[in-house]
């Protein structure tokens, strides 16, 4: 099993303004991550002290906040998930059909975040 996975990320509906005004990003994340979603320390595979899980969308949200977001984290995240009013699509499917944050990411998945809060 590969130790990292590559993901295509897209932001829309004004959310791109929080991410350097770029709609499309390609990122690489570890395929196994800490269960507490801590994205900061490099995971030591030999250590048994940190509880781990397969990288899921919940972890991805933390990762995007910690490593890609440029400003105003409160407009992106709230209560361990995306803020209400942000739609998430996993490979062009509503994430509500894919288990939301619990969806386990695969190499080359495309995840789209669209804000519904901007403009009328």
């Amino acid at each position: 099993m590969a130790t990292t996975i590559s993901l295509r990320i897209e932001f829309g509906g004004g959310l791109e303004l929080l991410f350097s005004n770029e709609r499309r990003h390609t990122i690489t994340i570890p395929s196994v991550v800490p269960s507490d979603n801590n994205t900061k320390p490099p995971l030591d595979p030999s250590s048994n002290e940190v509880e781990t899980k397969l990288a899921d969308v919940e972890y991805l949200i933390y990762h995007l906040r910690d490593h890609l977001l440029q400003e105003r984290a409160e407009l992106f995240m709230e209560n361990n998930t995306v803020r209400p009013g942000i739609l998430v699509l996993i490979n062009d499917t509503d994430w509500e059909l894919e288990g939301e944050g619990e969806y386990v990411l695969k190499d080359n998945d495309e995840i789209v975040f669209i804000s519904t809060l901007h403009g009328g």
Partner: protein, 344 residues
């Protein structure tokens, strides 16, 4: 998770969970039900008649972009016989409206529809940039909202509010008397302009998903002057409510419709008349836009906002003869013009 089949066609892979019903449906069925429900709303409420000229208030935002696309589609599919055109208001906000107008101009090409742009500058002699430089950011949305509503009517069109937000704001402000007016799906003025809201029962999620899957081109930057506006809070509150209970928006619209205003409270609503200065519909001698414009022109902009400032203005005597006024409003005659509101 195994992919689920569409609840409607039982065939294609479901891509969306509908907020209203919880149904899981595929892309083609989603397009079909979304468009058909708007068609049914239009038919049930008798929004249009064959030959109507329909102005679509186009801000470049998601709601009006989807509305223009869906109306064009339905007009062709069901042969409504409507003459559709886009109407945009240029509020004069550098770095915001000039960018979104570019989106509207692309929509004009994409949908091959005529476009009319009417500016605050030509109508009122003031851009929002100038208004904000005089009054600051605190009450500028009051000016913009009042001016836009008249500008759209004057260009035979609509205002760009989301109806659930408007209802919610009126409840939050205790503005009971306005509730009945803002939930009515067709508001017939005393003239021949009808305002209609075919999106009344569509959810914001579905509007955004529709725009995404149809790859519609819309503009989504927040107005640079709006962060302090009251509507911002109502909107965030609505989203939190919706997260806890997906049907929250429809429930609020229903409660607005079911709200009955007691006769004695209705009596405090003023009778509609026409503005003595510009001829527009008004509850007072002067319409709100004329009141606000007079305050701006006389250097006392707050007089349109607070009673205390109004008294100070009145104490300075009547409006000068050469005061700038809004061109006299001529209600349309002949074939009716319908204005369409993009409401979520």
């Amino acid at each position: 998770m195994a992919p689920k089949a569409c609840a409607l066609c039982q065939n294609a892979k479901a891509i969306l969970k509908r907020p209203k019903t919880g149904q899981q449906i595929c892309k083609d069925c989603f397009f079909y039900v979304f468009e058909t429900e708007i068609h049914n709303t239009i038919m049930q409420a008798n929004l249009f008649s064959r030959g109507d000229r329909v102005a679509i208030g186009a801000s470049g935002g998601k709601d009006s972009t989807v509305l223009a696309y869906v109306l064009k589609t339905l007009n062709e599919r069901y042969d409504y016989g409507l003459d559709l055109f886009l109407l945009s208001i240029d509020e004069g906000i550098t770095g915001y409206r000039d960018d979104s107008l570019e989106t509207v101009k692309r929509n004009q090409q994409q949908y091959s529809m005529p476009l009319k742009i009417l500016s605050y500058d030509e109508l009122y002699g003031w851009t929002m940039d100038r208004i904000v430089s005089q009054i600051g950011k605190k009450n500028n949305c009051t000016f913009c909202g009042v001016f836009r509503r008249q500008a759209l009517d004057r260009g035979a069109a609509m205002l760009q509010y989301d109806i659930a937000e408007t209802v919610l704001m009126n409840i939050m402000r205790g503005d009971i008397a306005r509730l009945g007016r803002c939930t009515s799906i067709v508001t017939q003025g005393e003239d021949t302009i009808k305002r209609s809201k075919p999106f009344k029962y569509a959810y914001e999620k579905e509007i955004v998903m529709y725009a995404y899957f149809k790859k519609l081109d819309y503009f989504s930057t927040e107005c640079i002057y709006s962060p302090d506006a009251y509507r911002g809070h109502a909107r965030t509150f609505l989203k939190d409510l919706e997260a806890a209970r997906p049907s929250a928006i429809i429930d609020i619209i229903h409660s607005g419709e079911a709200f009955e205003v007691r006769e004695e409270i209705k009596a405090t609503q003023k009778i509609q008349q026409t503005c003595k200065r510009c001829g527009y519909m008004s509850s007072n001698d002067l319409c709100k836009a004329c009141t606000l414009l007079e305050g701006l022109e006389r250097g006392m902009a707050a007089s349109g906002i607070t009673d205390r400032a109004r008294k100070r203005l009145d104490a300075e005597g009547p409006a000068p003869e050469n005061l700038r006024t809004i061109p006299f409003y001529q209600p349309p005659s002949g074939s009716p013009t319908v204005v369409v509101e993009a409401t979520a």
